[in-house]
Subunit: 185 residues, 4 copies
């Protein structure tokens, strides 16, 4: 086997582990929250934000009123709305400020994290744990993928499974989803 | 008078000129297009894009279904929708590709420019001319503000006058506008 | 005079006032800070962020190592670096968190604001006041431009005057500046 | 096995397949291009762009001069530079315009795609094929992950393996990489 294929297998194994270790309800929990929300606003930073944006695009493709916090077109949230925040390491100042604002707004707050005992998950109405390495605990091991890489990739795959679940629960065809894809590319 | 105040006056004069030289219908033209559209998508690049985003934020504050082309939450356009494109210098490859896509989509295309004889304005359903210097003609003069700076600032002020006009035409109060401002800051 | 030209004059007057009322050192203060910095990171939200980005683009055109906080390519800051934060209304939670992080980093913090007595300007190493209306005091008057519009436009013009000053102080030609403009448009 | 774990296994299998089917040189090809480049600019749209941004962040963490096309801080490219473009379906108008600009600039153009026979890969100096489903061929099968999802996730994992390779080839420690992570979060 080539070194490249060997590394693909190592990476896949590092990503598969945390996904299989997630709570059996994890996909349903976020699916239910999205279906119950009037409006959904997503917040994160760095590479986690990129994966939330990938999910935000799918939410829009499925007809949900979804926004990325900080985008110029993002609307405010209030009671009946949902804020989804990803903070792998569990606590960073900007995320804590945002979590506080989400609480004050009256919206529900769902936190995605690898560190459920940290401050921000404790502020949430609902928590989804992705038990993967992040920058909170990335030293002193021999993992192939550094820093929060595994958390970020597992986050993307998990959110795409939620998207599959949302399609089933809303009974939409693939054609309906495709029809909401941007045509200015 | 201090040098700083002197320069403020020079900058103000450079910006005021093109704004006063605009077609007397310019604010109404874009206002009418926005009011007639079902969905509005904005496209530009560089500093022009930033001013379109500032306008996109105001469109959302006024309750319009507005999107920035390329944002993950941007929806597709079709007949009944409006694409607003700013291209001060009149022609650049990425803008031309976008203008072609807008035409193909069936949406109306409104182009903001300083060069109405250029290729892209000629593709538009409606054109608004801001007769200011851009990178198409910024050499060999002694203007204080370089490159497309005057076009960009005049664009922002013009779009904010359109926003004032939209508030009047939709009969909304300032409180209604403020209520759509993001509360996650 | 047409109604449109009348409104252009009103808008220009509303913008010119605060610019002329600024401290005579304001352009030099930011110019000096930029010239003394190793790296510059800009932070703001909403329409203020858009104007900081317009300035960030000019900083890059002038050869400075400038970044927008939150961009994927933004590098960290430390002693010798400069954080520029705009907060017209003087205090918002996300901005306060960012200001705290800037302080902790050892970088200098320069705050642009209309409310110098507020919390965040008090945390700064240097403050530039743009004495314009923002969302902190936009009610009960008959200004044409609503909310923080005047602050935002004045901010853009002020920052473009700083860019002019940076070109003079670094002795660069317009051609050198233009050569750093993106060629993928 | 729970339905959720069953689906994790299905998703993992759908992603693993194309990664193992990639050319044995794929990781080295991009690694070599990055190491030989003076400056690197990344271009894509939608969810592919998000994965390129994730890679762009890692390039910056590793000390490379990397930019996202369209960002306000992006510098121009010329001979000696590298443009990396991802276009899973092989041809879209905006990407074709960008590829043409990249060619004109004198920079090398590396294209990531699932459709190497399409127009844009044929314009490239180097091509990396990720043989996964995209919106060019997503109908009439019973895959769990819809549209370009598998391409996008495989793209992220592939690019993270390139990042691992870049760390080895530049002989940097994890601490050196971490030290370039933003500290304004």
């Amino acid at each position: 086997m080539s070194q490249q294929r060997d590394r693909v297998e190592m990476a896949i194994a590092e990503i598969r582990g945390p996904l299989l270790a997630m709570d059996d309800d994890a996909v349903n929990r976020l699916t239910d929250e999205v279906l119950a929300a009037r409006r959904i606003v997503l917040f994160g930073m760095g590479r986690e934000l990129l994966q939330l944006k990938a999910f935000g695009m799918r939410l829009v493709h499925h007809g949900f009123d979804a926004h990325i916090a900080g985008d110029v077109t993002a609307l405010p949230v209030t009671s009946g709305d949902l804020v989804i925040l990803s903070i792998g390491p569990g606590d960073l100042d900007m995320h804590r400020a945002l979590a506080g604002l989400a609480r004050k707004s009256g919206a529900r707050l769902l936190v995605l994290t690898a560190q459920p005992q940290a401050v921000i998950p404790q502020m949430a109405d609902a928590v989804v744990v992705i038990p993967a390495q992040t920058m909170a605990d990335d030293r002193g091991n021999d993992a192939l993928l550094p820093m929060g890489t595994v958390y970020e990739i597992a986050l993307l795959i998990y959110l795409d499974l939620v998207a599959v679940s949302l399609r089933e629960r809303t009974g939409q065809t693939l054609e309906e989803i495709r029809a909401r894809h941007s045509n200015l590319e």
